[in-house]
Structure formats: C-alpha cells, structure tokens
C-alpha cells in the first residue's frame, strides 16, 4: 500500500476511535511494523501541524489521539458543548504534582512531603482518573504505589512524563535567591 493511503487509514482510525490508540494497534491495523507506523504517524502529525488544519494528533505515552487545535476553542465553544471537567483544588493539585514527579510513590511518602494525611486527596484523584494504583512496593507492609494515568497526560497537555515541566534543583536555587533578595529589600528599607 502506498504511503498516502496508509496515512489515510491512520487518519480514519484515529477519527473513528475518538480515544487514544496505541502504536501497536495502529501497526496491526495497517499491517506494518511499529517503526514504520511510528514514522507514518509522525509524518501525519507534521502535516496537520503545517497545513493550517483545525485538527491535530497528540501523542500520549506511546498512543495517539486526534483532537482540535486549541487556537479555535473560542469559536468551537460557541456551538460545541463544553466538556465536563473536574475542578482541582490546591490540595489536589499539590498532591497530584508530588505523585507526578515522584511516581511510583506510596501514600506515606506523599504524606511525609505534605506533612498531612492525604487519603482523601489521593482517593479523589483516583476517582477523577488522574491517578491510579500501580501495584505494591516490595517492602514491609507492602504499601500501595501510585502513579499518574493517561488522562492526566491529556488533561495537562503533556505527551509523556518526560515532557512535564522540569523539576530541578535550580528551582530551589531560585527560591534561595528570592529569599535573599527579600532580606536585602528588608535591610534596604
């Protein structure tokens, strides 16, 4: 089958499924190996990007999904129904950020960082399908381990965990500088 046609098949599949489709499944459908399929999808993503299209294809941890470009949201929302979204309180966001950056993580570790019990927050995040239990830690008590879901990637517009805003010690350094500046400010006043 020629490339153009393979791309058309991928487009049709992603449109019909609506949800994310793993690379393996796409490869199986078009009867190509994973490498080739990946190249084809990336090619398609590129085309969508450059062609002034209203749609795009996003990657979510090795799966692909079709969606609208955010630029046109204002127009879409005039007639499209606003999707239901969970409002994340500061507590939930804070807990989620700890889980996102330290996964797989136990509840106890989360509580150690937050200084408060986090049962409720973790359960809410599970209910919202942003967090999922990954299994148990091979340690005394075999505590549950938690991590983020594909829905998390989708809701926050990142295509893999590596794509999360970076968390580094430089950030901490910056806090330090800020603190010092504040002190300086106080001294100057």
């Amino acid at each position: 089958m020629e490339i153009k046609k393979l791309e058309a098949v991928i487009e049709a599949i992603l449109f019909t499924m609506g949800e994310s489709v793993e690379l393996e499944r796409l490869a199986y459908a078009i009867e190509q190996d994973k490498e080739t399929t990946k190249k084809l999808v990336y090619n398609l993503i590129q085309k969508y990007e450059s062609d002034n299209r209203g749609l795009k294809i996003i990657e979510l941890d090795g799966a692909f999904q079709m969606c609208t470009k955010s630029d046109y949201y204002e127009y879409l929302i005039r007639i499209a129904k606003e999707p239901k979204r969970h409002v994340l309180t500061d507590v939930l966001l804070e807990t989620l950020s700890i889980i996102a950056y330290k996964q797989p993580i136990t509840k106890m570790e989360i509580e150690k960082i937050r200084g408060v019990s986090s049962d409720h927050a973790v359960n809410k995040l599970i209910e919202y399908n942003l967090v999922v239990e990954l299994g148990r830690l091979d340690a005394p008590g075999r505590p549950l381990l938690f991590g983020t879901t594909e829905e998390f990637l989708r809701s926050f517009g990142v295509h893999s965990l590596e794509d999360l805003p970076t968390l580094n010690s430089e950030q901490l350094e910056e806090f330090k500088v800020q603190a010092e500046e504040e002190i300086q400010l106080k001294l100057d006043v």
Partner: protein, 248 residues
C-alpha cells in the same frame, strides 16, 4: 504580632509555616525560630479543634519547632566533618521540598489551562464493530495462577489488615474510654482514710481495677503527701508501705 481574626485555612503545618515565613519576609534558610514558633503557636491556639486528626498534625510540628528552639539555645552540635549543625536544617529541607511541589502544582495548573482548550470527539465506531467482543483466552489469562496461589494472596491481604489493628488494644475486646482524674482519685483516698486510719500501699493498689487506676492512685498518694494530708512510712526496703492520715 497579632493573628488575623478571620483564620486563613492552611492545608497543613508546612503550609502554615511557609505562610508565616512569607508574611514575616524572613529567609527560609535562616528562620528566626523564636518568633516563628511564637506565631505558629498563637495560630494553632485559635484553630478550631474539631478535627483531631488535623489538629494532631499541627501539634507535631509545634513540638518540632519547640524542640528546635531549645536546641538553638544549646551550643551547636558538631558533625563528623567538624561543621556546626544547624538544628533547623531538617525543617528547612522539608519546607523547601514542600515549596517546590507547591510551585510545580502552580506550573501544572498553567498546563491544564492550555490543555483545556482542546476538544476531543466521541468514538463513532460502527455498531457491528463495536458489538464485536474479542474472545478472552482464559488459559492465557489465568496462566500459571492456581487456587492455592490465589489463597496465599488473600491470606497476605487479610494478614495485613490484622497487622493494621493494634493487637494490644484489640485484646481488650471492647475499647472503653476511661477517664480518671487525679482530683477524683485524691478524694477517693481521703474517703478511704476516713474508714481506715491506716492502710497499706499494696492494699489500696489491689483494689484498683486497671493499670490506669493504679497509676493515678500512685500519683494521688504523692500529691496528698506533698500537701501534707498523709504521711507514709516503710520499715525496710521492699517492705509494704504504710499510709496514715496526718493528724494536725
């Protein structure tokens, strides 16, 4: 420094501490522990004590702060490298880590705002395709799982549950909250003295029904002795202790 009348709600002790550090515009690496501890304690005094679980977390931090405060008064400890140890070090690290995740939560929120402008599409899978359910290969699914393996898994879960219960307390069968005040016990001993002008320590302990009663009885006797209501005497070490009312 006064605490605002309308109490702000904090997620936890670290959140409150960061707020105080922020409000006082002090350096997180050089926390004026005396002042911050004072403000922290003032705050939790005002806190509603409805939720004991939350309250206890704030109290643990209060204890930590007081501990650091007292350590700051002592000569600094020196570690293996000959450097002076700052008693605040551990707390600072905790605060920084917490602050970093709070900051990342903020960043994530930004990502979310952008991502929310993207719309998806409901699946429009033709019915005959949707109705097709791939057969599940039970042999492959079950693999080498056996009933006895399943039972082992179940046992380990139940065991974990049992572990979670406090075996000492659950031995009592029913947990009854017992409150014995020192005042009550003192009154009891004074009444006891009216009937028996002189009695043995062992005798009164034998009349107590639980450990906590024994402890409070002992404290009550010490208290009565201090206030001069009773005198005690013992002929020799380990001999029974005699308790007598003081006759003024």
């Amino acid at each position: 420094m006064g605490i605002p009348v309308k109490l702000q709600v904090f997620e936890g002790p670290l959140d409150l501490l960061l707020h105080l550090i922020d409000k006082n515009k002090v350096n997180i690496y050089d926390i004026p522990i005396v002042e911050i501890t004072k403000q922290y304690l003032e705050y939790i005094k005002e806190m509603q004590r409805q939720d004991l679980n939350i309250m206890s977390e704030f109290l643990v931090m209060a204890a930590t702060l007081i501990d650091i405060k007292s350590k700051m008064l002592l000569p600094a400890e020196v570690n293996e490298d000959g450097e002076e140890e700052d008693p605040r070090q551990e707390l600072v690290e905790k605060l920084l880590e917490y602050k970093m995740y709070k900051y990342m939560a903020f960043e994530l929120k930004d990502c979310q705002v952008g991502a929310q402008k993207v719309l998806f599409k409901e699946p429009s899978i033709p019915k005959e395709i949707e109705d097709y359910k791939a057969p599940i290969d039970m042999n492959e699914l079950i693999g080498d799982l056996t009933l006895s393996k399943l039972q082992t898994i179940f046992k380990s879960i139940i065991k974990k549950q049992v572990d979670k219960m406090d075996p000492i307390r659950s031995k009592f069968g029913k947990i009854e909250k017992e409150e014995i005040s020192l005042e009550e016990k003192m009154r009891y001993i004074e009444n006891y003295l009216k009937d028996h002008l002189e009695f043995s320590f062992r005798q009164i302990l034998e009349e107590q029904c639980s450990k906590i009663h024994i402890i409070v009885t002992f404290l009550a006797i010490l208290e009565l002795m201090k206030t001069g209501k009773i005198t005690i005497s013992q002929e020799y070490t380990f001999h029974d202790i005699k308790i007598q009312a003081c006759i003024n």
